[in-house]
Symmetry: C2
């Protein structure tokens, strides 16, 4: 079935993105920026129309503007209504990534879900059934991982689709490796 389906459909790549822990919204975290860039450069760029990029942002704890949750954004126009309204800053983060996809001509979808990132990602993978889940990876040392936990470790173990984790480049590591 999967094989038959894949003959006629695009390969759907889900990329989980989050905000910078240092600069906050609308800046993307180093690892999700890296994972997104890797996806475009190594997989998608050869044939944008062969793929669909699905951008997922898990917002925890949830801010205001719950009415935007579960809304699917497919083009920059969808964000126009944002101006002069108090909407989640998460949308600015998605807008940045959707803009990058549009600029490259890659079909994409993006949305925000409330909840713990690892839970949101696993549930959305089960619901959407992407072909690949791409996650940024801070590349914490074992002790740091135990102390601070890592979303990507958990998702790599439990996601119901193939997972690829893109480790932060050493040169991109912040002074405090837990930051992102």
């Amino acid at each position: 079935m999967a094989e038959a389906g894949s003959e006629v459909s695009q390969t759907r790549i889900m990329v989980a993105v989050n905000e910078s822990s240092m600069k906050g919204y609308p800046h993307a975290s180093i690892s999700s920026e890296g994972a997104f860039q890797w996806t475009l450069q190594k997989i998608v760029r050869y044939n944008p129309n062969g793929f669909k990029v699905i951008l997922l942002h898990a917002q925890f704890p949830p801010g205001d503007g719950f009415n935007e949750m579960d809304h699917v954004y497919t083009s920059l126009n969808d964000f126009r209504g944002m101006k002069n309204k108090n909407k989640p800053r998460g949308l600015h983060l998605l807008k940045y990534f959707v803009g990058r996809c549009q600029h490259m001509g890659v079909p994409c979808e993006a949305w925000i879900k409330r909840g713990k990132p690892e839970e949101v990602i696993l549930l959305e993978v089960r619901r959407i059934r992407p072909d690949i889940l791409v996650l940024g990876w801070r590349g914490l040392r074992p002790f740091e991982s135990v102390m601070y936990g890592t979303v990507s470790d958990f998702c790599e173990k439990h996601a119901e689709c193939p997972v690829i984790r893109i480790r932060r480049k050493e040169e991109d590591m912040p002074q405090n490796r837990v930051d992102d």
Copy 2:
């Protein structure tokens, strides 16, 4: 640098393949067959020339050679025959995968290295620096993994490039899940 390079080069996908633990050479294991098929169908098929598939087969002495059990070795010469037997068997396995790539018009390279699969794979990744390492995954349960170990767990943790593990489909699971 990596980004700059990737603008002009193909994305190099290393796929580790091994023989069936049930049928032996030249048959591919269920998980490596699945990983290879997934790579062609989900990533490469859209634009074969954008990618290069690197096929690596680690042959662990005495390879599949259970037929060498009960053989009494009295001198080093006795082992020559074994090596000479196993190498061609491994080549038949590679020939099968290279043929599949050729049929699809995907540039590929393939070779055999002798040694423990996890060690060979990590060393070759360090030497070749592929963009992605694709591994088949038997999808063993935690207890089974501890009992029998899994190459993909080890490589996923330690490989110096992004790793994607393709889990065997439930319908492909052999009666004994440790088999492959």
